[in-house]
């Protein structure tokens, strides 16, 4: 996975604690996947919607203001911004959309990928903060490849389908694991590097 320089925004507001049955699941998944992105990036700065008391374990608390943090992230001039949020903002609702429109107006077009770890109860879909971000459901780090393949098919259909074909071929070869397939597997793994930066441009 190629990412370049990135800014990560973690929504650590109370609603990211999720439901009583699986307490802290949305924030935990976000933090885990954010770690993967940090490792895959050339340079990464992580920002929070409210200053956590413990950066290692920023437990969800308080209200949500995302727009202002996006402006802070933009000032870092990253290649892209990765936002982890359930899509509910309340200080006030719509500020993120207004900020993104403002950035567009002044000619700043840094791609924003919004990973949403929750399905909204009212729609059973992931909630978008703005139509100006790409919003993707976030399950866990193991499913990132699937998420990106879906995104690739949406953005660059031919390239995405070709990638999917190679991905399935690799899965098949790994499953059979017959003698002589090792070289094939290595080559397929090499081909399957995702350039996220290029994909979201």
């Amino acid at each position: 996975m190629k990412l370049g320089n990135i800014a990560i925004i973690i929504d650590n507001s109370l609603s990211m604690a999720g439901s009583k049955n699986q307490k802290n699941d949305p924030i935990a998944r976000s933090l885990a996947v954010a770690k993967v992105f940090q490792q895959a990036s050339n340079r990464c700065t992580t920002l929070y919607t409210s200053e956590p008391t413990d950066v290692e374990l920023p437990l969800p608390s308080g209200s949500t203001t995302i727009g202002e943090v996006i402006v802070k992230a933009v000032r870092l001039k990253p290649d892209m911004i990765l936002l982890f949020s359930d899509g509910y903002e309340n200080r006030p609702e719509g500020l993120t959309n207004l900020v993104l429109k403002g950035l567009e107006k002044i000619g700043i077009r840094i791609p924003i990928l919004h990973f949403n770890p929750c399905y909204a109860v009212e729609t059973s879909q992931v909630k978008q903060l703005s139509q100006k971000t790409l919003t993707l459901p976030l399950s866990d780090a193991n499913h990132l490849q699937g998420t990106f393949i879906r995104l690739m098919i949406e953005k660059k259909e031919k390239q995405g389908l070709n990638y999917l074909k190679q991905y399935l071929m690799l899965a098949g070869r790994r499953w059979w694991a017959l003698p002589g397939m090792e070289q094939d597997i290595k080559q397929l793994e090499k081909n399957l590097t995702i350039d996220v930066k290029e994909m979201v441009q």
């Binding site: 608390s61 308080g62 402006v71 359930d86 900020v99 107006k105 002044i106 109860v121």
Partner: protein, 357 residues
């Protein structure tokens, strides 16, 4: 042991909000919540039992009567005003017409409760149940009728409420509303987030102050917030959006705000202006409230050991021309409040609606 007496006094919002401060408001759609905090943790009362843990529905002796028990071994229980029980049992759902103060390990028999499920027979078996708080638009009527008798006296209003939100079944079943709008109501819980140490809120719908809610400590607030946001004020937000779809766009951030920006600095200035304008609005709302004085009548008074000392607790009913509700005072200091504005009065002076026009 609770003793009933009736004495008159006056209580101002200044007294209710004394020792507290407002936080930054949260706004989603037409609903806005201004959180309230104590200025110091020393002012909080942690010797109050939590309704979510200690409130037992002990018995429904007959239709329109509810016996609640405080199971806590030591602390007094403040029963949230207009607590209701909607259960999956084949049994009549009930709501109480006021609040309550119940000393440790004792019960209180509400003889003026409401049946809220017109055609259902049977009594709810004893148990711990999730509770609701009656929808905002029913609460003003409910408190007016708190000392009257007749288990069916809220049915007319429940039927009207259901009609207003498009529920065509003719009978007065409040659960129809919660079943029909369950997904929308759940969303309010995710949208409005409790702040650390929050103990209360001023709630606005369509730019009108509709309610003031206050708890003795943050844990108590966590217990009552979900029923308040979901079944009381969330219900009203749904009703207002259905009665008056024009109100939907009110208060939305306008693209005009960013019309003249040409740099990130400009964008930050716009955000700062929006925040300052909101803060000024919050201060104005509170300033306008502080002057209001309400007539207060003692409903229940009791003595209870709170911490290491004996305290005098009073449940008072408050009323002025717009607001009605109840507060609990401990030795003359307000520790709990649940006060709502009269929807009819709000409708007369704003876009707030009572019925489809």
């Amino acid at each position: 042991m609770s003793i009933f007496k009736k004495t008159k006094q006056v209580i101002s919002f200044e007294e209710i909000l004394k020792g507290k401060k407002a936080g930054k408001s949260q706004k989603v759609g037409i609903m806005e919540v201004i959180p309230i905090f104590y200025q110091s943790k020393d002012l909080m009362n942690f010797h109050i039992a939590l309704p979510g843990e200690s409130m037992l529905l002990k018995k429904i002796p007959k239709y329109g009567e509810v016996v609640l028990e405080n199971e806590d071994e030591q602390d007094l229980l403040i029963v949230p005003v207009h607590t209701g029980f909607i259960t999956p049992h084949q049994a009549q759902d009930h709501a109480i017409a006021k609040g309550g103060i119940i000393t440790a390990k004792t019960s209180f028999h509400y003889k003026n409760a409401f049946c809220i499920q017109q055609t259902q027979g049977g009594y709810i078996p004893p148990g711990h149940y999730d509770f609701i708080i009656l929808p905002y638009s029913l609460r003003h009527k409910a408190i007016k009728m708190k000392d009257k008798s007749g288990y069916s006296r809220l049915w007319k209003d429940i039927s009207q409420f259901n009609r207003e939100v498009g529920i065509k079944k003719g009978t007065a079943h409040l659960e129809y509303f919660y079943q029909t709008f369950s997904d929308e109501l759940e969303e309010f819980i995710a949208q409005f987030e409790i702040e650390p140490d929050q103990v209360g809120a001023i709630i606005l719908i369509a730019n009108q102050v509709v309610g003031i809610e206050l708890a003795p400590n943050p844990d108590y607030w966590k217990n009552v917030w979900e029923p308040l946001i979901r079944s009381c004020y969330g219900a009203e937000t749904i009703r207002q959006l259905l009665l008056n779809p024009d109100v939907r766009g009110e208060g939305k951030l306008s693209p005009e705000e960013i019309e003249n920006i040409s740099s990130i600095d400009d964008l930050e200035t716009v955000i700062a202006k929006l925040k300052n304008a909101n803060q000024a609005k919050v201060e104005e709302i509170i300033e306008n409230l502080l002057d209001k004085k309400m007539h207060a009548e003692v409903d229940i008074t009791t003595t209870h050991q709170s911490g290491s000392t004996d305290s005098q607790f009073e449940l008072l009913t408050l009323e002025d021309e717009i607001y009605k509700g109840q507060v609990v005072q401990e030795d003359g200091v307000v520790v709990y409040a649940s006060i709502t504005a009269d929807p009819k009065k709000l409708a007369a002076k704003s876009k707030f609606r009572m019925q489809k026009s």
